[in-house]
Amino acid sequence: MKALLDRLAPLALGLIGLALWEGLTRLYAVPVYVLPGPLLIAQTLWLDGASLLGSLWITLRITALALLAATLGGVGLAVVMAQSRLIERSLFPYAVIAQVTPVVAIAPLIIIWADNTTLALVICAWIVAFFPIVAATMTGLNAAEKNLRDLFRLYGAGRWQTLRLLRAPAALPYFLTGLRVSGGLSLVGAVVAEFVAGTGGAETGLAFRILESGYRLQIPRLFAALVMLAGAGIAIYMALDLLSRLILRRWHDSALKEPS
């Protein structure tokens, strides 16, 4: 009963919010080009959904490629940096620089340098997304219990054995936390990069559709695209969360079900 209430409460709050929104836009007759009501947005989503879905697909492809690159690059970088303090000290500042530089500022350069748009977009999204994975994985690689490390030394374990059998598994929960953050950031990065690139033509992502709808004052459509984007973000988070629960199910406290 309580569990049901826990699930229903946020849903109910959302519905109340939507009803208020609908009611107020009608009551004050707010023009649709300023703020459309949720019913109109839902209708637009239904009617324009098919064409918007095509754009969503393009954005998601960029997101997935960026997340893949962020995972491979992030884990690779973390493993390299975890090999010695010297390597870590030499490389880490540059990872931070890449992280703190606003992607909107460097995106135009990347678009000029990369010879195809998809590659440019993936690079931009990657820059936004890779840092949480690097930082979390690095923390995790150094998180193995001291006594366990001593045990590996006692049995004369080599660097590779220690990495594979001790440091990597110890880093896994940390990496998965980083991955969940990076999943959302990949989408953000992809959208920001599309905004900057602003490509027209056949292959246009959801960000461009938002811009386009804004220019044309098709605000209901803009909102429909936003809803799709938010939905995609939530779906990515939930998928990665599920993945991490499945992987850690048997041994990690974070994946345990609360006793009821």
Binding site: D150, Y155, G156, L172, R250, W251, D253
Partner: protein
């Protein structure tokens, strides 16, 4: 201990802790000790007397600042020494069987399921090979750690207060099981403890240590039957030995400077 060469001979082992210049702490001061083959030796002392440090030095996890640790029969190779820490120190992501298999994997030995099973049977965990550490109680985790230390058939077993965190009932049972394992495997055991009763129950010999800096202030042979049974815990002879060890420990605690004046 005996005329034959010992398994291990410590001579004047001194160790500074901390590493920072000028702020080094003298953890061990001139520890000399022979450990014979098949011995069950306890290092008894209060916390801070360097007994864990001594164990780490013997295991080769750190090098002593001064003195020598000699192995008359040849230096141990990986797998010759088993180590049990104060905590179970199991890998939470691996099953009990995989945890026990670890030393065999690391030392590149072929791990047969029979070896794993027999190590688990030895500590009474035969039915828990596929369980994960978090599914076991504290005592069972310690048993798993013991099985892991035994799986390479080590010559020397080093135990660093392994049962200190367990409740008394569990501790007594593990004491008795350890006794049985030592007799069956005929390995050498160095057991670190701060419990007089545990030291007296288990050991053939007890070295009493004083704190800050750690020194061996007394060595007591434990004159009890080789086979230690639970009934021994109420035996007057056992009580007398416990009292003697307590007295030695009290002296070590109250007069750390007096013990400098050797014979």
């Amino acid at each position: 201990m005996s005329a034959a060469s010992p398994l291990l001979r410590l001579q004047g082992v001194t160790h500074f802790y901390g590493g920072g210049k000028g702020r080094n702490l003298l953890a061990l001061d001139g520890v000399s000790l022979d450990v014979g083959h098949g011995d069950f030796l306890s290092l008894l002392g209060p916390s801070g007397c360097g007994k864990s440090t001594l164990l780490r030095l013997i295991a080769g996890l750190a090098a002593p600042t001064g003195g020598t640790i000699a192995w008359p029969d040849g230096k141990p190779t990986p797998g010759d020494i088993g180590f049990v820490f104060q905590e179970p120190t199991l890998m939470p992501w691996a099953s009990i069987a995989d945890n026990v298999r670890l030393p065999l994997r690391l030392t590149g030995r072929k791990a047969t399921t029979g070896e794993i099973a027999s190590a688990l049977d030895l500590v009474g965990l035969g039915d828990f090979a596929q369980a994960f550490p978090r599914e076991l109680s504290g005592g069972m985790k310690m048993r798993a750690a013991l099985a892991r230390a035994l799986v390479t058939q080590p010559r020397l077993l080093l135990l660093d207060e392994p049962f200190a965190a367990l409740d008394e009932i569990t501790r007594f049972r593990l004491n008795e099981d350890l006794m049985r394992i030592w007799r069956e495997r005929q390995c050498t055991v160095i057991f670190v403890t701060h419990s007089v009763f545990e030291a007296a129950f288990l050991s053939q010999r007890v070295a009493v240590m004083s704190p800050r800096p750690g020194r061996i202030v007394a060595e007591e042979p434990i004159d009890l039957p080789i086979l230690r049974v639970p009934e021994l815990r109420t035996d007057p002879a056992y009580s007398a030995i416990c009292r003697k060890l307590s007295d030695r420990l009290a002296v070590a605690m109250s007069e750390p400077l007096m013990s400098e004046v050797g014979p």
